[in-house]
């Protein structure tokens, strides 16, 4: 790669990271270490905002979320799925708009670049760059349980976004397995949000 290309790459990575930081929040509770969360699209927000994170990041019913601009707010857990390790938090007032595109897991290619955002060890909005490691064997047509990426994460990345080179959301970082990172596919999260949000009383 030429020098101008690598400089261009650095700029683009910085720009992609900046975009992702805008939808990444910090999730703080008394009982657990600080994790990350993702501002989620909601069809009818009615002034409320939705954050998706891992269930293990919010052991209780409440948490404080801090947005990228520094605003901190109380949020409450409105849905939880311990098996998938997902939790949804609501807070008010919600952001004006969140635009996020979901990447279909079947279209992921081994070797393509991915970016993760998280808050490791006190650092806020740190980024890690990696590649898609491999497809998990899933029955024909079904979504695999995990997206595996070769990217070095730390606990503060839990609940945060994993995105592709175009900024589309690939998954929610959930676990570290050796030197690999496991993420819940974004499509799975989307389906879960739609399903459980319907159950939540306004």
């Amino acid at each position: 790669m030429t020098e101008s290309m690598s400089a261009g790459l650095a700029q683009e990575v910085a720009a992609a990271v900046e975009q992702l930081r805008r939808i990444t929040v910090q999730v703080r509770t008394r009982r657990a270490a600080t994790g990350a969360g993702i501002l989620w699209n909601v069809a009818e927000s009615e002034g409320r905002g939705l954050v998706i994170t891992n269930a293990h990041v919010v052991p209780g019913n409440q948490a404080t979320i801090e947005l990228n601009d520094g605003c901190a707010m109380r949020a409450r857990v409105v849905a939880r799925d311990s098996k998938r390790d997902l939790a949804a938090l609501e807070f008010e007032p919600g952001p004006a708009m969140v635009s996020m595109v979901i990447r279909e897991p079947q279209t992921l290619r081994v070797g393509e670049l991915v970016i993760a955002i998280g808050h490791p060890g006190g650092l806020v909005g740190a980024a890690a760059l990696g590649i898609i490691h491999g497809a998990e064997s899933a029955p024909e047509g079904r979504t695999p349980r995990w997206i595996r990426a070769d990217v070095r994460l730390a606990p503060g990345f839990s609940g945060g976004p994993l995105a592709d080179a175009t900024g589309r959301l690939v998954g929610v970082n959930t676990m570290i397995q050796g030197s690999l990172a496991l993420a819940v596919p974004a499509a799975v999260v989307e389906a879960w949000v739609e399903h459980s949000h319907a159950l939540v009383a306004p």
Binding site: M1, M5, G8, L9, E12, V13, A15, A16, R109, V110, G111, E112, L113, G130, I131, I132, H133, G134, A135, S137, R148, D150, D164, A165, T166, G167, G178, S179, L180
Partner: protein, 304 residues
């Protein structure tokens, strides 16, 4: 929009897809399958330490089908093994043998521990010159990698961003550190294994210990080095014994090169030395003598 980022991402994914067409999974042990590379038509290269049996070896091809394979030979000292695969229409790997890898070069390690291909990325962290493994085999260059090892790493190829193969990966040659055996070494070993089933090595039948030659003696004999090898054991009837080497002889040089360590002797015992006399300079009785030793062939274990 991010063009360079997307281009790089696509380039890497393309490299994986292209090179992945020559990567197979090998079932030759009880646990997880090992990876292998379709190196030449009908020839699959794998790592020796992942092949635990001689028979009933099967291979999973990129299209998901299984085919039987036979073990053609192995070389424990380079950790390489060669399998023969019959009647498959598989592309052979595209090798990059012209330009050697450079430190910092972006590389991907591919594996196929199951039906699908897996990848980890990183950089070449060190490129050293010719290197001798602890069994005495010569590896053309030592490529150390800074990337993650995972199931299926050993036996898979290291590829560059264009999808060309730089060598075969193994985690068993340098104490768990991921290392790549370069194309040149693999080619040489594959050729010999296909021809003979094992790698030929020369043998003298001596056991040695490094000793320090007293300074006065080293000076008197005008020796280049004050460390030499004392012959502490000699195989009765072995090549060295037969050619007149004695216990207590102090070996200074073999074939004109000073020997300070047993591995220096191994360096002179490549397969091409079998049956060819080699000059040995020794101290005996206070004087330097030169003997002609003709190595025999080292007893090795065969694949089957």
């Amino acid at each position: 929009m991010s063009t360079v980022l997307q281009s790089l991402s696509t380039e890497l994914a393309d490299a994986v897809e292209t090179a992945g067409r020559a990567v197979v999974a090998i079932h030759a042990r009880r646990r997880i399958p090992a990876s292998g590379v379709h190196w030449r038509p009908g020839v699959v290269v794998a790592t020796h330490h992942t092949i635990n049996r001689d028979e009933n070896i099967t291979v999973t091809l990129p299209d998901g089908t299984t085919a039987p394979a036979t073990l053609a030979g192995r070389d424990p000292s380079t950790d390489l093994a060669v399998l023969k695969l019959a009647g498959q229409n598989l592309p052979a790997a595209t090798l990059r043998s012209g330009t050697p890898p450079t430190v910092g070069e972006l590389v991907i390690a591919l594996g196929r521990p199951g039906p699908s291909v897996t990848a980890s990325w990183g950089v070449v962290s060190r490129v050293d010159g010719p290197w001798r493994t602890w069994h005495g085999a010569e590896i053309d260059s030592l490529l150390r990698l800074d990337l993650a090892i995972y199931d299926g790493f050993s036996g898979g190829p290291l590829i560059d961003a264009a999808g060309r193969v730089l060598g075969i990966n193994t985690s068993a040659l340098a104490r768990g550190v991921p290392v790549t055996i370069p194309v040149a070494t693999v080619e040489r070993t594959v050729s010999e294994l296909l021809e003979r089933g094992s790698i030929r090595r020369a043998y003298l039948g001596i056991g040695t210990q490094p000793v320090r030659v007293p300074e006065s003696l080293a000076r008197k004999l005008e020796l280049k080095s004050d460390v030499a090898l004392l012959i502490v054991s000699l195989e009765s009837g072995g090549p060295a014994d037969r050619d007149g080497l004695l216990l207590g002889d102090v070996l200074l040089e073999l074939d004109g090169a000073a020997v300070n360590d047993p591995t220096d002797v191994l360096a002179k015992l490549g397969g091409d030395r079998v049956g060819r006399p080699i000059a040995a300079r020794v101290i005996r009785g206070g004087q330097v003598k030169t003997l002609q030793l003709t190595p025999g062939e080292r007893p090795t274990s065969r694949a089957a």
